[in-house]
Amino acid sequence: MQFKKNVDGRLVPTEVNGQKQIPFKGVDKFKSSGKIASPPIRSCADYPADGNKKVKSLKDALKKAGLKDGMTISTHHHLRNGDQLTNILFDTIHSLGVKNIRWFPSASFPCHSHLIKYLKDGTIHHIEGSMNGPLGKFTSEGNMKGIGVLRSHGGRYQSIQDGEVHIDIAVIAAPTADQFGNANGVNGKSACGGLGFALADSEFADKVIVVTDNLVPFPCVPWQIQGNNVDYVVQVDSLGDTSKIVSGTTEMTKSPDRLLIAEYIAQFMNEAGIVKEGFSYQAGAGGTNLAVILYLKEIMKAKGIKARFIRGGSTKYLVELLEEGLTDYILDGQTFDLDGVRSMRDNPNHVMTTPFTSYNYHGKGNFASMVDAAILGATEVDINFNANVVSHSDGYLLHGIGGWQNCLYSKCTIIAVPSFRDRIPVILDEVTTLCGPGKLIDVIVTERGIAINPKRKDLLNAVKNSSLPIRSIKEIQKEVYEICGGAPQKPNVNKKKVVAIVKWVDGTVLDSVYQVVT
């Protein structure tokens, strides 16, 4: 394997799974050229005139779609940890004796540990998407045949447009669909909210299969996925475990330290002048993030102002803001609880977004860079404000990127992290895996203080008389190293064996993930 150093000094392979790779050149430095990839031309004359595309089983649909060795199959994570369809899909592929599939999920969850046996027996060659939990461990220990490719949600869209990933068959889990293939996620027992992550697949894949456990007569509205892009419709009894698709309720953190971080963030946003009439921000569904919503709500009420829009990750806390008139709109990429699903279904101001609308690198503009502030998590950060979201300090790959990289483009990107976890310092000299360049990260908020990126003189100036604990990142790091007993050792990894690469939003390679030596 040949390596090249990218602009941030990270060694990255020049070829991965037989595909040439371009090392990261810097934020917004690389722009691909040529034409956007496109699917083959089809004609409606080839489809049933009565619109009935129903076939009797998933197996039947896969056969009709021409499933064969080495194909790229895509799935989506709308069903989250309740997804059983993807597992059934690979059971079926396995039963057909098909091998070397490139699995292209928008994200994976612990429920997908079922697929480890197919990674072992060669049914799946490698994963391009995210490798969470058990799949991450499997990959990190060097057990996957091919090399994993980690992309952001926006990067996934870009990779399809750039032709890096050509999807042979897209399998879309649809909580509600009609026989024509129109589908949505807001109705049905498996309702999950929006189906935005499947948009690119429905438009660009050669063949598109919609699988539903709630088949309704035409028309299925809203049609988040348009049947005009769909080849086959399969009806099944169940898509998965509804209790794990969305939570009944999302719960705010009770940890006093995380609440303190949330309070600092809300106060910082206010004192930095971000919280004002018509502002916008990116919310999330993590416990700390939910607490930020509540603290911001108090501030907004006290000041008598409202937001113009809030980007979700929607939850009941966000829905309450909408319903209490504290924001005009929720622009929602992913719905986390039943209140979110209900609101998206019933409230026209709760709008589904897709990676294309939210943060597509090949779009004519970027919503993400129009957002006033984004609050994101990380596994690690470093003294140069770089951040890691995919691996831990022991070198193990355990999380996906999600929309995280894309959201870094906001006007004020805030990373919320504890300064250490047990005995694991979170602010390092250098992150284990680079996922977010420090250039885009403005503020790191810990329970021990708030560090502002020195390049953001405007923010430093805005809070210079604040009572908030504004500190340098090195000062916080030093304190935590003293608590933990010095700087930690580097993870024990085999630098000759890359198990996965991390892509930047433009398709270049930001960093390599190495095999962990056990």
Binding site: P256, D257, L259, L260, S393, D394, G395, R421, D422, R423, I424, E447, R448, S467, E482, I483, C484, G485, G486, P488, Q489, P491, N492
Partner: protein, 406 residues
């Protein structure tokens, strides 16, 4: 004492353990030191953990032993405390102590009349709560060796609390320890007195003699260790008899800085339910306030035990303040802010206090012995209370330190 005890252990094990470890030491014959470490942070601090075990074996001259460490991210002060506690189960008479070096930020002192609005209880044997406790800025933190520690963990907790006093930064909170009831509590003192403890809380105090016994033991340990810093006492009144004796207790020593009331035990002693209205404890609370004030010390109220009930907490503090209490126990960091807000003076109180202090300063500047505000004479206690109000206002960010100039 058993001398044939070859095996000792301390700490916590299991999947739910965080920031703690389990250490087991078995002395062997002639096989050298063998140890096995399973650590959640092995890839980051594995070497450090191994080094510490070797250093501690050297220190206690352990030559032959099998040592097992199951670590779930214990910080060094915890690992050392667990090791020492395990070892001392085998050699309880070994008086050597393996002390972490004193954190450079931990040398600050306290004052008898400092503000004690909030005091946060930390269970003595739960190290995970220690490092961040001070970040919530309580006026005091209490490392508790008494009710929050089960009898089997009392020994381990002493080493942990001792090490925490040395190495954990509590960010200028007053450093308090609640010892066990006497006589056991007297044995706790040598673990904490040499390590800049500021206040000793004496639980279930029922007589002046108890206070004097604690004071005497502290003085002996201070003399042995050449310590000159003051260590104050806060007796806790938690029984019917304690209430009756509260003045005697509050005035037993000039080291008593405050008198606290504990209502869980008190209501049990009366044989009644503890209610939210608190009619059953009204007498006890008032009596404690009265005794404290009669002895010239602070009166501190009991804890509010429903962490989720913020409004209930606020109401209970407003009531406590009206009765004459100046502080409240906290069992969760999120209560601290509410306590501080509720003890904060109102705008009207601040304005009045400002006028009094300004008039006093003016009179002093002019060499006048008598202070008058309008037609009213102001005497010393009024000025003192006004200054206290001003201090509270500054602490709560309601006034700046330079308010007189503004």
């Amino acid at each position: 004492m058993k001398t044939d005890n070859k095996k000792g252990w301390a700490g916590k094990r299991g999947n739910n353990v965080r920031s703690d470890c389990f250490v087991e030491i078995e002395l062997t014959k002639g096989k050298g030191i063998k140890f096995s470490v399973q650590s959640k942070v092995n890839s980051m601090y594995g070497q450090d953990i191994n080094d510490m075990i070797i250093i501690m074996c050297d220190f206690f001259e352990i030559k032959h032993a099998e040592i097992l460490v199951e670590d779930n991210g214990a910080l060094p002060f915890t690992l050392a405390a667990r090791f020492e506690a395990a070892y001392k189960k085998i050699r309880p008479d070994d008086s050597r102590e393996f002390l972490p070096s004193m954190n450079k930020n931990n040398f600050y002192l306290t004052q008898k009349d400092r503000m004690r609005r909030s005091r946060l209880y930390l269970p003595g044997n739960e190290p995970k709560f220690y490092p961040n406790a001070g970040l919530h800025y309580p006026d005091g933190i209490i490392l508790d060796l008494e009710d929050s520690v089960t009898p089997s963990e009392k020994d381990s907790a002493r080493y942990l609390v001792r090490n925490a006093l040395c190495s954990v930064d509590f960010y200028n909170a007053e450093r308090m320890v609640r010892i066990n009831q006497l006589p056991m509590g007297l044995n706790d003192l040598k673990f904490v007195v040499p390590h800049n403890v500021h206040v000793i809380l004496i639980p279930k105090c029922e007589s002046a003699i108890t206070v004097k016994d604690v004071e005497e033991e502290i003085n002996i340990i201070k003399a042995m260790n050449n310590i000159s810093a003051e260590i104050y006492l806060m007796p806790i009144i938690e029984s019917a008899l304690g209430v009756v004796k509260s003045y005697e207790i509050a005035s037993a020593s000039d080291k008593v800085c405050a008198l606290a009331v504990g209502l869980e035990d008190y209501t049990a002693d009366l044989g009644v339910e503890r209610t939210n209205e608190g009619k059953e404890s009204f007498y006890a609370r008032s009596a404690v306030v009265n005794s404290a004030k009669a002895a010239g010390v602070q009166a501190i109220d009991t804890v509010f035990s429903d962490v989720d009930d913020v409004e209930g907490l606020r109401a209970s503090i407003i009531e406590a303040k009206a009765l004459g209490f100046e502080g409240k126990g906290c069992i969760h960091p999120r209560q601290i802010k509410v306590v501080h807000e509720a003890f904060a003076p109102s705008g009207k109180e601040i304005e009045k206090a400002k006028k009094i202090v300004l008039a006093f300063n003016e009179a002093e500047k002019n060499g006048l012995g008598v202070v008058a505000l309008g037609s009213k004479m102001i005497d010393a206690p009024v000025v003192k209370r006004a200054q206290h109000t001003i201090n509270l206002a500054i602490l709560n960010g309601l006034l700046t330190k330079n308010w007189e100039k503004e």
